[in-house]
Assembly symmetry: C2
Homo-oligomer: 721 residues x 2
């Protein structure tokens, strides 16, 4: 049995269990959790201690005295029909009034906007009586909205836990706005005192920084969440930030720049220039103030780790500036392999994964986990099977759990499973410590609107947007031996496809940030991708890649991909008859699986030369095309599973023109994956399924055959050459 | 047995059959057909004679001597990749060289255009060597197209018949361009001589006028048709028309205005201002020259009828100027009810339907009709069942057939069926002659980009675009007692919804001419429809009504309809839970049918007040909503059949706020329809199916019950009140 790299959630009153499980799981750190305490016995056990801290909601007494210094955000009402020339609108109608309130000190005429949404025109002809906005000289039949600055009087995570767990009259925690110098001083003062009073704490685990993801609640319980986006910056707006931004950028952000006619600015939609300015401006503030907090921890001789969840804002670890915080570790909760890759690639000393399930009675959707009817050992296994693939490719330093440790007492199978997972984790870590695994050398770059900022994730978890093809592609790629980077449409338009990219991937739906939307109206972008492919590069397009209306094609890259989509503009064009070619490298040898669950219909070949590899109901699902000296592959969607991951691997290889090398260090059975660690001359083979599997693996010396038990991970030391 | 209103295709050598069937079918006219002659016996039988004439292809000897005066059109090559800085393009590559040629007298530098399609920029840096265009200083990786003026050296209907029937070395007929004064003179000279030589002809049946529908053929037999559109004006372009247009409108039309980056200008896409100018300009010419031809026929004491098929251009009978031709009759070939409505509503003395099947061995897709394996009597029945519904509502003066009469000899069941159809037709005509049928008084206006020009048709036949919801809606409405008009988006934006409209209907897909595309960016349009509904009007939206990206909603009328569609822009918005309400007037009492075959997924309620009447896979398929004093209905698609026609009837009634009157003069069984002719106090009940049906019909005196044989038409004289 090995030891180390494991963070265990301790719990006061369960000292014996804490120390027993420390031993069983090989833990070398103990943490507290929301709602748990560590007792003196644990604190003095000699095992290093992590202490969690959510700073902005930790000074509630001060917050109550300074309600004008809470965090704010812009909201927009539903469109309201004018039936006469005067119209009354209640700004907060439909919103949860325990989350949102109006702040009398914020002048409506300065911050609010009233729009005739039917004409798209702003009107100044309105008044505010403290309860209602009255619109004067309204046009009957038109729809009006009020956009307004709301103060958030209940921090969302506190609100969610409170309401979900029925905490009754327990205090509502509020998030203070650190842009106010007084608030910032109070937070630093609190942090100093907090560090001072925790001599046993070796790691301050920030949960997480200052601004939650956008989460607007509604008044109606039938629709409690109105809007939720992990990536958007709605909660960073307030009189101070608006004024500072205007001073710095020379223009003023208005409510409309945030509420955007009711769409807001979700991460799934391509960002505007203004939005990027605001994000850069806010990011600088978060880093500056974040650095001050890290410095306090360091001053007290503690390490500072950050938990990347709940508040991503300014903290995005792939934004190129993350190192400026000076964090000593990054902790990411993971359901999926791509989240492990997100964590592993960040420039920070320690990379830690917080595994699921969380040690709570119920899971994300209220299903039992550590409660009657729950099977937490199966949950743990399922998530681990997903995550483990990524750990074939990259090194992770630590894993851990969170929640109430005592809940595991009734689930000994779970305790065993975690011990087993910890062993597998440490075995994989040891291999990486001995030297990097073999990599194919085929370098993939994902082309989307956000570029590197959204590397290894779209926005949120896979299960929140299960239809996004890019989520599924990230997940498949997380276990494949292709180094991955992300490029923004803008940078490719400006500078072309950079050196060091073999295959470009564009995957999304018309108009979204992942396909790129109007970014494809920039001829420089299309030119860059066409030139890259024509010179011999590879392109993979998924769903509605490069889709934009306006030109002669719907996919800007249709001539590269060899396919386009019928969206009603070419009903009079007779299409080339599409016949399936079954003997192609990309699909050859693979079973014809179920269609992609997010299959986009109506795709047709634009040329007789397009190779159609799979049809669904007469529409193209997989196609391959030559373009100049390069190659392109089209997929009508993507669902991650073993077969499709193998299909993607072969598509990447084919697009790169390197299909001859594909068999090397690949598991022939799509239910399995493997990695070769040349320094140790060791091969690791994974069975990603719950059934026994047999697979061949091609090595330079010939084929190896392995039989693997369900979910097994096998290590083989290869013979000398 | 009755007689009259029937046009029979005679055939030389089959004089006995011709006269026998004249009697059997009650024919009062004999016509010739393409490829048939009428003998002296027939011509002197005393029965009036129709003679068919396709003028523009009738002067082939002259055409051969004047190849520079043939019809032309703009074409565009496929995009061609530049791999170096010089690029050679063969303009005619991929086109059928027996249809298209280049005319040396047309200067390429005047009429052609070379585009860098990657940047969207025109280049002048190219040369022409008589075979190839060479592009100089091309950007490697960019795609280039050549747009050019082609001469059509084979008239398309001649070409199609020739190739389909394997006519070998029979002469290729060519279409002359009547814009050339010399061509026009030749055509009129020919027409005079033609009339003079046919003293027995009482009706000149123009088949049809001057410009065929756009029909581009390809070189590859695997894809013979590249592009086909009944409505587009591609074949009207030539040096004369371009020069005259520029003189008249003060600006020049270029190749790009027609080829549009490869999309051309299909009727399914919203028209541009330039396109409308060109259509108006061409329409004037067609009417002027058409009138001259009609005048010739009249001068010889003959009537002039026009067959509305093959060449719609400038002839569109709902364009508001059709009467200017002076035609005495309009003949429309019909597969569907909406085509009968299209014919019946035109301001012309005689309305005639050419029934199907055509008396040819094979049908449209090569299937046998009057050949072994064919069942022409079943075909005739099927089409008649569709068309007959329309004749409940409107008067048609004549019906008829076309083709080789002798083919019917082997199909006596067909001869019987036509006799039966002719009887039913004459019975319906007699009822209309006695006075108009009862109408509901609920007036429906279809709102689309083309307005009245495309009344009762989208573009082409139903079977060519079987997925277009508006085709199906026109078909359903063709048998319903709602007067119908069409309004263009432009006119409603400019003038509001006119008086005399109870229910507006907008049905199409994002960006198409039927939904309206960017027309919805005009706030005046949305304002007009919202104001109309808010004041008490009705709105029915189908598929992606008023869909346009840009604003906060995807459907510009989402707040009126109560629903919007998720197209990836609102992934972070949590939707109202949609629960089916089963007791609504619109769906109540109707069986839940199969989903619309063109169902648009992802539609969700935008408000808790939206009434969801039918869900398909969690998405809204039918919804109802109140808006101000008006009402709106949403349908996610539309497939015409008995149940859906009843659903639409109820939706129209409900939207108009007149659901209480719905039962009156409606057949309760959706397999049946009926009309009441108050002057004669007669009720006609149709069984639209091939099974016996029973239905109740509510009359002011109470309910009537009818049992109808398969396909039966029952007439009942009601008791005195």
């Amino acid at each position: 049995m090995t030891r180390g790299g494991f963070t265990l959630p301790g719990e006061a009153g369960y000292e014996r269990l804490t120390l027993d499980l420390c031993k069983k799981w090989g833990a070398d750190c103990i943490r507290d959790s929301d709602g748990t305490q560590l007792s003196e016995d644990i604190l003095t056990s000699g095992i290093p201690i992590y202490s969690t801290l959510c700073l902005v909601r930790s000074v509630n007494a001060w917050a109550k005295r300074n309600m004008d210094k809470l965090q704010r955000n812009f909201l927009i009402t539903q469109p309201v029909l004018a039936e006469a020339s005067t119209l009354r609108i209640d700004p907060l109608a439909g919103f949860f009034r325990e989350q949102f309130a109006l702040t009398p000190s914020d002048d409506p005429k300065t911050y609010w906007q009233v729009y005739d949404r039917t004409t798209g025109m702003l009107t100044e002809d309105w008044g505010w009586d403290g309860t209602y906005v009255t619109v004067y000289n309204a046009a009957p039949g038109h729809l009006y909205t009020v956009s307004f600055l709301a103060t958030r009087i209940w921090e969302e995570i506190s609100m969610y836990n409170h309401i979900t767990n029925g905490w009754g009259d327990r205090e509502h925690l509020m998030a203070v706005e650190p842009r106010y110098p007084e608030a910032q001083a109070e937070l630093l003062r609190f942090l100093e005192a907090w560090c001072q009073s925790r001599p046993r704490t070796s790691v301050v685990r920030f949960t997480s920084l200052f601004y939650n993801f956008a989460w607007f609640w509604g008044a109606d319980e039938a629709r409690r969440t109105l809007f939720a986006d992990w990536g958007s910056y709605d909660f960073t707006v307030n009189p101070v930030s608006l004024a500072e931004f205007e001073k710095e950028y020379g223009y003023r952000m208005t409510a409309e720049d945030f509420v955007n006619g009711g769409l807001y600015r979700p991460t799934h939609n391509p960002p505007t220039k203004k939005q990027r300015d605001w994000m850069a401006f806010t990011g600088r503030f978060v880093r500056e103030f974040g650095r001050k907090c890290v410095d306090v921890a360091h001053r007290y001789g503690k390490k500072a780790y950050v938990f990347y969840d709940d508040s991503w804002i300014g903290l995005e670890p792939w934004n190129g500036r993350f190192a400026e915080f000076g964090f000593d570790g990054l902790i990411k909760c993971v359901f999926n392999a791509f989240e492990a890759r997100l964590c592993a690639g960040v420039p920070v000393p320690v990379h830690e994964l917080r595994l699921h399930p969380y040690l709570f009675p119920t899971g994300l959707t209220g299903e039992p986990t550590f409660a009657r009817g729950g099977h937490p050992e199966e949950d743990a296994r399922r998530y681990w099977l997903r995550v483990r693939r990524a750990l074939l490719r990259v090194k992770i330093d630590r894993i851990g759990l969170g929640g109430y440790l005592h809940l595991t007492e009734a689930f000994p199978a779970f305790q065993e499973e975690i011990a087993h997972i910890a062993e597998e984790f440490r075995a994989l870590r040891a291999l990486h410590e001995g030297g990097a695994p073999w990599e194919s050398g085929v370098r993939v770059a994902v082309l989307q609107s956000w570029g590197s900022l959204r590397t290894w994730n779209c926005a949120g978890h896979m299960h929140e947007h299960p239809d996004l093809p890019l989520n599924h592609l990230y997940e498949a790629l997380a276990g494949l031996p292709f180094p991955l980077t992300c490029l923004s449409l803008d940078e490719v338009a400006q500078n072309g496809v950079p050196e060091g990219v073999d295959v470009l991937l564009n995957a999304g739906r018309e108009g979204d940030a992942w396909s790129g939307g109007d970014g494809w109206k920039d001829g420089r972008l299309t030119a860059a991708v066409q030139a890259f492919t024509a010179r011999g590069g590879g392109l993979i397009g998924v769903g509605e890649p490069s889709a934009v209306r306006g030109g002669g094609r719907f996919f800007a890259l249709a001539d590269v991909l060899g396919v386009d989509r019928e969206v009603g503009r070419t009903n009079c064009v007779v299409k080339w008859p599409a016949r399936e070619q079954t003997n192609h490298f990309i699909t050859g040898g693979l079973p014809v699986g179920a269609p992609f669950h997010n299959h986009v219909g109506g795709v047709y070949p634009v040329s007789a030369a397009t190779q159609v590899l799979r049809l669904v109901g007469g529409d193209v699902a997989v196609a391959a095309n030559a373009f100049g000296r390069g190659r392109a592959v089209y997929l009508s969607g993507f669902t991650v599973n073993g077969e499709n991951t193998a299909l993607l691997r072969r598509a990447v290889r084919w697009a790169a023109g390197r299909e001859a090398e594909d068999a090397l260090w690949s598991a022939e059975n799509p239910a399995c994956e493997c990695a070769y660690f040349p320094k140790q001359n060791r091969l690791v083979v994974l069975n990603n399924t719950s059934k026994a599997q047999t697979t061949a693996v091609r090595t330079p010396q010939g084929e190896l055959y392995c039989r693997l038990e369900p979910r097994a991970m096998a290590q083989l030391t290869l013979g000398k050459r």
